[in-house]
Amino acid sequence: MAVQDTADDLELHRRLAAGDRAAFDELYRRYAAQAYGLAYRVTGQQMLAQDVVHDAFMALWRAPEAFDERRGSFRTFFLSMVHHRGVDQVRREQRLRARTEKAANLDPLEDEDPADAVAEAGYLSVRRKEVREALTDLPAAQRQVLEMAYFDGKTQVQIAKELQIPLGTVKTRTLAAMRKLRALLEEAS
């Protein structure tokens, strides 16, 4: 199933690169909910999350050659791009004003129906479970710095200050976490 979906993604991307709007719509149907969920998790604000997803899809349409299938799957490419843009949004917000504790005060959501989204993206659920298990297998200290960087958009300097540990320790733990996750995810797939 996952292999077929990956092949379908590649075909959709090739069609999109040729200017096929239907392919764009299908990729949107496949990944908009996951992208929006990720962007919302990172930015904590619906408007910012919308902008992130909007910008990511528009960038995909305008510069489809940015995806190179030799370097990984379309899904990881696209979600990585969404994350990057989400973090950029967070940084802009940080420059404008001190942020409140995002995790504790997420913007209340309106009208969304997560159950529908999950149903649409059902084929991703197996991989989601594998990723969650892999993250759980990380040592707690490594998982902590990874989550602070990835989901809270914090810099390594901010993490070091917050945890009151040396910056070098944050770097070491981050690298160890990324390497272990990479190995666990490769093993799982």
């Binding site: 908009a32 969920g37 528009m58 995806f67 370097r71 994350h83 959501l109 990874l146 960087a149 390594q156």
Partner: protein, 236 residues
């Protein structure tokens, strides 16, 4: 000799978007000078970017607002028109709105030798025209780098004309990006290439709003830097 342990630390922080200050600048330098030519680092970068993509699945999917797709569809119509006016696979991506406001960039158009380009807008005459400009006395030709592109900035101050020409085949997974530099701040204009053969770009800018242009090779999967230090000239 490069310290790959240290490089891997920077790449891990880079893909997570968690670098700042000197670390961000060092990663920037590595990504333009070393990584494109290092198979080991490119493999590491790809693997780590794959992990950040997989981590995206940790977020619960949420249905986006119903207004989002129609908003994009309206823009797609405009985007498709823009694409059709440009040169197939080597199109220029219009810069962010912030770039337009900040440096007065009003648009880009691409002229090339038409080697692989299907567009009728691109003819050998266009490239010849820029080559001809280079021979005129009031034209300024400035090497733009990075190495391998043989890129040049060709400006004709008396006519407020500005061109970039060169060979823009980036390393796998990388892309060339053009920035406008004003008062020590570089602002993203657009992506360049991949292009076959020598190509020339007509850069439509307000000359008063740009001190010089900056061309950098960057990972294609990452968004362009909103603002970058012009001191980080790409050489890779």
């Amino acid at each position: 000799m490069i310290d790959h342990e240290g490089t891997d630390e920077l790449l891990a922080g880079y893909v997570l978007g968690s670098l700042s200050g000197p670390d961000a600048e060092e990663a920037d330098r590595l990504l333009t000078e070393h990584v494109p030519g290092c198979l080991t680092c490119r493999a590491t970068l790809d693997a780590f970017q794959g992990v950040t993509g997989e981590l995206g699945l940790m977020a619960d999917p949420l249905a986006p607002p119903d207004t989002l797709l129609p908003r994009m569809e309206r823009e797609l119509e405009g985007g498709r028109r823009r694409r059709s006016q440009q040169w197939g696979p080597a199109r220029i991506v219009a810069g962010a709105a912030a770039a337009v406001v900040l440096v007065g960039v009003v648009g880009l158009s691409l002229l090339n030798d038409g080697a692989n380009g299907p567009s009728e807008l691109l003819t050998k005459a266009d490239l010849a025209q820029v080559n001809q400009l280079k021979t005129e006395t009031d034209t300024e030709v400035t090497p733009l780098g990075p190495t391998g592109t043989e890129a040049e900035e060709v400006s004709v101050p008396s006519r407020d004309e500005l061109y970039v020409m060169g060979t823009f085949v980036a390393s796998p997974g990388f892309i060339y990006r053009l920035y406008a530099v004003k008062d020590g701040v570089a602002t993203y204009i657009g992506d360049v290439g991949p292009a076959t053969g020598v190509v020339a770009f007509h850069v439509e800018v307000d000359p008063a709003s740009v001190d010089k242009l900056l061309l950098r090779q960057e990972p294609a999967a990452s968004p362009p830097s909103e603002l970058v230090s012009p001191s980080l000239e790409a050489v890779g």
